[in-house]
């Protein structure tokens, strides 16, 4: 096909190729995985600065009162915030009180003051844009980006603590990592689709060429990983050191995977790798669960 023919492809008259369920699953997995690069608390902090009076977790508690008071102090009334962020899903709002409280508790006074002032500035810019019904100009866009980056530095200081408060199982981090691999995502990511449930905590490691990720979640929980998991052609279940393991392998996808379940602590960890041996995956997972 020449370039000219490429440019003139008539999309309404093509003989379409078949697509397998596996191919669909692979694309979905890819898109959802990329989507999760934003930790949930970051999303809330930037986009959902709204406090719902009936936050289920801390309703009526002194913590809720303290968070509410802090938020009123920083951002004005909650009604005002609702006007600024009218489209945000309600489930996310509950996290924000906790986020602010954890930030206050784990940052130094000076850090928290800076942090909260930056958030305040962010909300003020957003309110101005909404009032004037326009997109940010170059200067505003640059400042918003700058604020987001600084907030992220502060949030990394308490990300794991925050993640731990959001989940009902103990978060595990591998004490063994195969030679040459480093953690490439320093934050702990929670899938946005899990809002309202125990979030999934993901860690990603890479040696520059290949990578692997671990996803820790509640024992009965499913997430987008399942689409990928179901497409592994080979599967083997076995017990090791008193834990239930499942090893999976796919030549089509050129990936391997392993899942360990820890029933007494109500969680499971799924490891998906580009290029790790069964032994290496076992070592990584055992270093997470044997504590």
């Amino acid at each position: 096909m020449s370039m000219k023919e490429w440019m003139n492809i008539d999309i309404d008259n093509l003989e379409l190729l078949e697509v397998t369920d596996y191919e669909k699953a692979r694309v979905k997995q890819y898109v959802l995985k990329k989507q999760k690069r934003k930790p949930i608390w970051r999303h809330i902090a930037v986009a959902s600065v709204i406090i719902i009076a009936t936050g289920f977790a801390f309703e009526g508690s002194s913590i809720a009162d303290a968070a509410q008071s802090l938020i009123n102090q920083l951002f004005g009334s909650k009604e005002k915030l609702k006007q600024i962020y009218p489209d945000e899903p309600q489930e996310e709002f509950n996290y924000f009180e906790r986020h602010i409280e954890i930030a206050k508790e784990h940052l130094t006074e000076e850090e928290f003051n800076n942090y909260s002032q930056l958030m305040k500035e962010q909300v003020e810019i957003k309110a101005k844009l909404q009032k004037e019904k326009r997109e940010p100009n170059e200067e505003e866009a640059k400042r918003l980006h700058q604020i987001t980056e600084i907030l992220r530095v502060y949030e990394n200081k308490f990300a794991l603590i925050e993640a731990q408060q959001l989940v009902s199982y103990p978060i595990a981090k591998p004490s063994y990592v195969p030679n040459g691999y480093n953690q490439v995502n320093e934050s702990f990511y929670l899938a946005e689709k899990d809002i309202g449930e125990d979030p999934t905590v993901e860690l990603e490691y890479s040696n520059g060429e290949a990578s692997f990720s671990t996803s820790q979640q509640g024992i009965a929980q499913t997430n987008d990983l399942e689409y990928l998991w179901q497409n592994f052609e080979e599967s083997e279940s076995y017990s090791l050191h008193g834990f239930e393991f499942v090893y999976v392998k796919s030549e089509k996808m050129n990936k391997t995977g392993m899942r360990v379940t820890v029933p007494e602590k109500r969680y499971k960890i799924t490891l998906i790798a580009d290029n790790l041996s069964k032994d290496e995956m076992e070592k990584v997972l055992l270093s997470m669960v044997e504590k």
Partner: protein, 187 residues
């Protein structure tokens, strides 16, 4: 609620996962066919990566789409076509570089160092903006910024005069520059 032909665009803009399922079910055969046609002599992984990239772009930029189901098919078709062409060009350039024995010994010329290199984010931003142009302008911009053809070659391909291509590029740049992120690139 599940996505259907009537509501998938709205649900996609709201980032509902069932809308992602819907577009993969409905449009992946089209995306795969276009990508395979253009990248037929490349590796299977290249085609797969191109398909992944198309759906990620659509998912992340769905808020920019305006139109109905028919327009959506055209939109995703365009994104696929240009992403595949872009990938083909990049792969071809890479092969040329690898096969050039003398390249490492040469210092880059002024032309080479001045050539605008579009980063991945820029390419996406420009692609989505270009999709809003009319057919001829769109092709001109793709040839200019994705295929990096000289204006005279673009004119020849489209059966236009070089002056007409120059004019359309000038007007198109002005139009695209209403987007703040693209202003710096084009003006």
């Amino acid at each position: 609620m599940k996505s259907s032909a009537n509501n998938f665009i709205t649900r996609l803009k709201k980032q509902k996962e069932d809308a992602l399922d819907y577009i993969i079910d409905e449009y992946m055969p089209l995306v795969k066919t276009i990508a395979t046609k253009i990248l037929h002599n490349m590796k299977r992984e290249d085609i797969d990566e191109c398909i992944n990239d198309v759906f990620l772009t659509v998912w992340q930029n769905s808020r920019l789409f305006q139109g109905d189901t028919k327009d959506f098919k055209k939109w995703i078709g365009m994104i696929t076509k240009y992403k595949a062409i872009d990938r083909y060009r990049q792969a071809k350039r890479q092969i040329e570089l690898e096969h050039s024995d003398t390249l490492l010994e040469q210092k880059p010329s002024i032309i080479q160092t001045d050539r605008p290199v579009l980063q991945r984010e820029d390419r996406n931003e420009i692609l989505l903006a270009i999709c809003q142009l009319d057919d001829i302008d769109r092709e001109i911009f793709i040839m200019k910024y994705y295929l990096e053809l000289p204006n005279s070659k673009i004119a020849e391909n489209l059966g236009l005069s070089k002056a007409a291509v120059d004019n359309r590029l000038y007007r198109g740049k002005k139009r695209l520059a209403t987007n703040t992120k693209l202003r710096e690139r084009f003006l």
